[in-house]
């Protein structure tokens, strides 16, 4: 366990879950490095986090689709904070399935952001942590990546790619003492899901953030959040494909 407050790097810092998680680390007096697209939002978030107790907050501007800049952003974070204890990849868009089926450019753009953008970052960050021989590498995947369904398989496929990539990294980095955490949230009330009708299964981003915070502390590998999704997905994965393909999901 770490003695002092950690250095935390967050990609997609202005996403709803990231904001809650950052506030949690700010409370601990952590040093934070926020990466995102919008400088105005990032600065507003920085001011808030400093008041909430963060000891130092840095900003890096990045459009995740610009892969050529990934390395530079990570280098900057490493130079600025000297050591990275926790890194969280939280950016993402919720793909509109119907549009992705007819609009190929959109489909590829979505895969770029939700899959390749995450994988590229993970790969570069893994090297840093492997060399450091310590730290946590965490990415927000989704229960949607556990099984393809007609209602959201484009988003699901992107997340499945992330999930498998993380699995492999975990295997590789376990020798180096690096934690690799796959986060699989269920339904979260965020700007991404504004248009959905909410049932009891929906939770606030603060609930998910709290689960992630604890999973990082407890050195977990895979986190379903809230917890009941582990069992829902367990059952969904058990259904034979022959039957599953006919289901309305």
């Amino acid at each position: 366990m770490r003695e002092s407050a950690p250095n935390v790097l967050v990609i997609g810092a202005t996403s709803a879950i990231a904001i809650e998680l950052l506030r949690r680390y700010a409370k601990d007096g952590a040093q934070l490095y926020l990466v995102g697209r919008d400088p105005v939002r990032l600065r507003a978030l920085r001011d808030d986090l400093v008041i909430r107790g963060a000891c130092n907050v840095h900003i890096g501007i990045l459009d995740i689709a610009t892969f050529t800049e990934h390395q530079a952003v990570i280098d900057n974070a490493v130079v600025t904070m000297a050591k990275i204890d926790i890194t969280i990849i939280a950016h993402g868009t919720l793909t509109v399935q119907a549009r992705a089926q007819t609009d190929q450019a959109y489909l590829l753009r979505e895969m770029n952001v939700n899959c390749l953008g995450v994988i590229s970052m993970l790969s570069l960050l893994a090297n840093v942590l492997e060399q450091q021989k310590s730290g946590t590498l965490c990415a927000i995947s989704s229960v949607a990546g556990d099984r393809g369904r007609k209602s959201n398989y484009v988003y699901g496929a992107a997340k499945a790619g992330v999930t498998v990539f993380l699995q492999g990294l975990r295997n590789r980095l376990s020798q180096s003492g690096v934690q690799v955490l796959t986060v699989k949230p269920g339904f979260v009330i965020t700007p991404m899901t504004r248009e959905f009708n909410k049932t009891l299964l929906w939770v606030e981003p603060s609930v998910v953030a709290n689960d992630i915070y604890q999973a990082i502390q407890r050195n977990k590998d895979v986190l379903y959040t809230p917890w009941f999704w582990r069992w829902i997905m367990f059952i969904i994965k058990l259904i034979p494909e022959r039957i599953f393909k006919k289901m309305n999901l």
Binding site: V40, L45, D47, D48, I51, R52, P191, R194, L200
Partner: protein, 434 residues
């Protein structure tokens, strides 16, 4: 699926809510909507926080700190910031909100919109008295700042303006220096309103906070008993003084759903007054002194699906106690005693807000379970008495006063209308202007 849509109101339909995190998102929402209302945590009891015929914008994710000066005690934040979160940060730095309502689960924006008051009204006035600057998003003018010196009329209209003058986005506030997170509290039983008055007079100059609980079981003839509480912040940081055992009976709500009824409340009242039969003092952490009911997060559900009404009025000091007696007698006659009643004497500090509720006098807040017609009849009887004695009702608590009653209680509403943003309205405003 039904749910509570405001603190006292249950509805089978949930309203359509929009939320936002950032200024640009709010800007888009305002520019694309004809009838909107921005709301905070919806802890208002009635319909000031509802806009069921239009769009409701929830501000609870617009909750960032903007600036905090721990030396000068000045804080600036977005309107959706919760008072609970503000307290955590400021108390750690030795500062406290100058005025707090009885729950910390409110937003700063809601505190402005209702110009809330607290147990220290007699020496601090209302929340609006401590605001240095406000920023609004108005549909015609965009982001607009106002304060005691800048746009003072808009400032006065916005404080207690029920969110109608524009979407409140930023609040700059002067905090109060405190030397400890604890308060020294004295609870003193009284058995008549005259005794209550004596305690008030004796305490108001020496004690920062005063408030009284009335024993609903004691409303017989002209005897009205209760417990007078007075408190001040502990002088120096003395956490070892902590003696607060956090007894569950500090909260006048311990009964499960099916049991929150007349007999149970009678027993509770007896028990509570028995526990307080002698004056006692204690040291309390600020949360258990200011927000005892927050220990039960959703105590409103104890009233069941029909919800409840809170009736809060203020009447001038002169003749005020007689009004209170009269109202309590009527409740007794209806066999419809309030489950909880809280009495406080307001001081003379003038509210800045054009539509603010507090004025010098007695304020009594009473919770009644909703028994339908009979409850409404009784409350209308109360209205007539309050009106006849130049009193008024608190919009934040109201769900049923008539347009005519409102006009007579708030004649300044005509002037207030000049400052209302034409894109903003609420169920309350529609009702009192019907």
């Amino acid at each position: 699926m039904g749910k509570y849509i405001s603190w006292g109101k249950y509805s089978p339909d949930s309203p359509k809510l929009h939320d936002y995190y950032w200024d640009d998102e709010l800007f888009k929402l305002i520019n694309n909507t004809a009838s909107v209302l921005a709301v905070g945590n919806r802890r208002s009891y009635g319909d000031v926080c509802l806009n069921t015929q239009g769009t409701t914008i929830v501000t609870d994710h617009y909750d960032r700190f903007l600036q905090f000066d721990p030396e000068g005690g000045i804080v600036e934040c977005c309107a959706g910031l919760g008072l609970d979160e503000l307290n955590v940060i400021t108390v750690a730095a030795g500062w406290f909100v100058p005025v707090t309502p009885g729950t910390k689960y409110v937003t700063l924006g809601g505190m402005v919109a209702n110009d809330v008051h607290g147990k220290n009204h007699h020496n601090a006035g209302t929340f609006g008295n401590h605001i240095l600057e406000l920023t609004l998003l108005r549909s015609k003018d965009g982001f607009t700042t106002c304060g005691p010196a800048e746009n003072p009329e808009l400032f006065a209209a916005t404080i207690g303006g029920m969110g109608l003058t524009g979407v409140i986005t930023r609040i700059k506030l002067k905090l109060k220096k405190v030397t400890s997170r604890q308060l020294y509290v004295e609870d003193i039983p009284f058995s008549s309103l005259d005794e209550f008055n004596r305690l008030t007079e004796e305490s108001d100059s020496q004690w920062e906070y005063t408030v009284s609980w009335l024993n609903g079981d004691s409303f017989t003839s002209d005897r009205v008993g209760g417990v007078f509480s007075r408190a001040k912040h502990v002088d120096k940081n003395a956490d070892h003084l902590l003696r607060d055992a956090g007894l569950p009976l500090h909260i006048p709500f311990i009964a499960p759903n099916a049991l929150l009824n007349r007999p149970v409340m009678k027993i509770f009242n007896k028990l509570y007054s028995f526990m307080n039969r002698q004056a006692r003092d204690s040291i309390k952490e600020y949360n258990s002194f200011f927000y005892p009911l927050d220990k039960i997060e959703n105590w409103n559900i104890l009233y069941g699906k029909r919800g409840f009404f809170q009736y809060q009025f203020v009447v001038p000091l002169n003749g005020g106690l007689a009004v209170i007696k009269e109202i309590l007698t009527i409740a007794k006659k209806y066999r419809h005693e309030p489950y909880l009643s809280v009495l406080k004497t307001f001081g003379t500090i003038k509210s800045i807000g054009l539509m603010s509720f507090p004025q010098p006098g007695y304020t009594l807040a009473m919770d009644f379970p909703n028994r339908g017609k009979i409850t409404l009849m009784m409350l209308s009887d109360f209205d007539r008495i309050v009106l006849a004695h130049h009193g008024k009702l608190y919009p934040a608590k109201d769900a049923r006063m008539s347009a005519d009653t409102f006009r007579r209680m708030y004649p300044q509403a005509e002037k207030f209308k000049e400052y209302i943003d034409p894109c903003i309205t609420s169920d309350f405003w529609r009702r009192v202007n019907a």
